[in-house]
């Protein structure tokens, strides 16, 4: 099972984290990679460098540059992990939050199938008729 964990620190700081905090987080992420579960992770820069794009009901767009004001909702980073159960994702997230020193993480299971199938079902029904090729 693949989960995305989305981290919301609960506040947006302008001061960079301390060297010690960075080292602790680095060690945690390394452990996660060593245990084979971490597929991808990154932190996000300050919201002043971002924007929110909204499509209005009439089809027009509203683009609002950061910084965003609702500090509680601001996303600080994400990780994509491959685990056996939601409980495993929860356990690893607790460990992450302990190292992060607070905040909230949202855990969402990712689709095993893509959200939209770019191939029609009729085509799929005809598929699979050619020979297996060089898959070794």
């Amino acid at each position: 099972m693949r989960f995305m964990t989305i981290y919301k620190p609960g506040e947006e700081s302008t001061t960079p984290p301390t060297a010690e905090h960075m080292a602790d987080m680095g060690k945690f992420i390394e452990e996660l990679a060593k245990s084979g579960v971490l597929l991808s992770t990154d932190g996000l820069q300050h919201s002043s460098k971002g924007a929110r794009v909204t499509m209005n009901a009439d089809g027009s767009f509203k683009v609002v540059d950061g910084p965003f004001t609702e500090a509680k909702e601001i996303i600080g980073g994400y990780a994509i992990i491959n685990v056996k159960s939601k409980a495993e994702a929860v356990e690893l997230t607790k460990r992450f939050l302990r190292v992060a020193g607070g905040g909230q993480s949202e855990i969402r299971e990712m689709h095993e199938q893509p959200a939209f199938d770019s191939r029609s079902s009729a085509q799929s029904a005809n598929a699979g008729q050619r020979q297996q090729q060089a898959t070794l």
């Binding site: 699979g128 008729q129 020979q131 297996q132 090729q133 060089a134």
Partner: protein, 422 residues
């Protein structure tokens, strides 16, 4: 299952390989280590529903297991003074506080995990035993999960594991990472076990399902762990690259009714870009380490050719033929020759490929390999020899034990019989 039980289950998944590895170093016996770890799990199941899951559950389990080990040792010491050396070490470690213990574990845990992998894949064990023991000790799978994955009775797996642990103990297999030339041979056994698990998930040899993605994930996890433990072994990265890239196609490989969809028919939009990126990075790492010509790296390079092609028509078949040439030279095998023939048909046409496949028909190793008649049938179809293709597909269908694959082959036989050149 209650929330606490689910949490304990998750902690077990995360911690059990490290726990068993650490205990195996102390006791020198994988079987005793697993028993102790299980005892600690039982203790957790009794305690944690009342106390909640501790902040550092791994350290709690380790401390509990060590206390059990000391008890066990004292009891056996009263009867016979056999395990004295283990006892000394344990007594010394008992002096350490839990946090010291934790630090000590952090330092050694990577080495212990590596030792556990080498031990579980020791050549003194049968291949089935290596697979079962590796999934159980390092993958954290239960006996039932392993049995379901390989479509064998749970009792068979349980017996395999018990016997494997006894064999390791009786053969006095040391709990260590081998050195020198021995290391290469033993590492290739570890890689072989991981890839076997992956392949069983990728195209199940028996049963209702064409693929078992969970087993692929287990193998990938083991491979990624191994790659972190042995960062300078090119072939480990080669194997990881091969598995990541193959796994990237998993969700494109099965149709809505569970039927197989073969490589050239797959919707490449369904390929998993994240796994492809990871796979290509692992392949680059293998090549940087000078391992481009290793057997797994070569296979990874072949699947990378597919991963890089945006459409099936863009596939660099000539390069794939050249890579198969190198692979066949390195590890001659009729199965590689068969795959090479398929690539030849794509690069240079079906007539040339059919000649190669015809030569393989006398190979005893391929006598009951369903892909030989299946490939031959396909080449005959392409050459318009439909009447000859039909019995080939029927023969192939009679050889596969996978139901989904059998249906596909029988369908092709029927079409060839009807003169449909699909």
């Amino acid at each position: 299952m209650s929330d606490v039980n689910r949490a304990i289950d998750a902690v077990w998944r995360i911690e059990s390989p490290r726990l068993i590895a650490g205990l195996a170093r102390i006791t020198g016996d994988v079987g005793i280590a697993e028993d102790l770890a299980q005892d600690a799990l039982v203790a957790a199941l009794e305690r944690w529903p009342q106390t909640g899951v501790p902040d550092n559950p791994g350290a709690w389990l380790m401390a509990t297991a060590k206390h059990r080990a000391i008890d066990l040792h004292r009891r056996s010491k009263r009867i016979e003074r056999k395990h004295e050396q283990i006892g000394h070490e344990l007594d010394a470690q008992q002096e350490m506080s839990v946090s010291d213990l934790d630090t000590a574990l952090d330092d050694d845990i990577g080495d212990d995990l590596l030792r556990l992998m080498f031990t579980a894949c020791h050549p003194v064990l049968s291949t089935e035993a290596r697979v079962a023991l590796t999934l159980r000790l390092l993958g954290g799978l239960t006996t039932d999960e392993i049995a379901r994955a390989f479509v064998v009775p749970a009792a068979t797996v349980a017996q395999r594991i018990v016997r494997a642990k006894r064999t390791l103990s009786e053969a006095r297999v040391p709990f260590e990472v081998p050195r020198g030339a021995d290391r290469d041979a033993r590492l290739s056994s570890v890689l072989g076990v991981i890839y076997l698990v992956f392949n069983e998930g990728y195209s199940a040899t028996a049963g209702e399902d064409w693929t078992r993605p969970a087993l692929c994930e287990d193998a990938l996890r083991l491979g990624r762990v191994l790659a972190e433990l042995t960062p300078n072994d090119a072939e480990v990265h080669g194997l990881v690259a091969l598995m990541e890239i193959q796994a990237s196609r998993l969700r494109a490989r099965t149709g809505p009714r569970g039927e197989p969809i073969l490589l050239l028919d797959q919707d490449r939009g369904k390929w998993d870009r994240l796994l492809i990126t990871r796979g290509l990075a692992a392949l680059a790492r293998a090549e940087q380490l000078g391992g481009a010509r290793g057997p797994y790296a070569l296979q990874a390079a072949i699947v990378a050719c597919h991963a890089r092609a945006r459409t099936a028509d863009e596939t660099d078949w000539e390069r794939i033929v050249a890579l198969y040439d190198a692979l066949a030279e390195l590890t001659p095998s009729p199965i590689i020759e068969l795959n090479r023939a398929v690539a030849v048909s794509m690069a240079y046409g079906p007539a040339m490929a059919l000649e190669l496949v015809n030569e393989l028909r006398s190979e005893p190793a391929l006598k009951s390999y369903h892909l030989l008649p299946s490939v031959r049938g396909d080449l005959l179809m392409k050459l318009g020899r439909l009447g000859e293709a039909k019995p080939e597909f029927e023969h192939a269908a009679s050889l596969t034990r996978n139901i989904r694959e059998r249906d596909l082959l029988l369908d092709r036989a029927r079409k060839a019989g009807n003169g449909e050149k699909s």
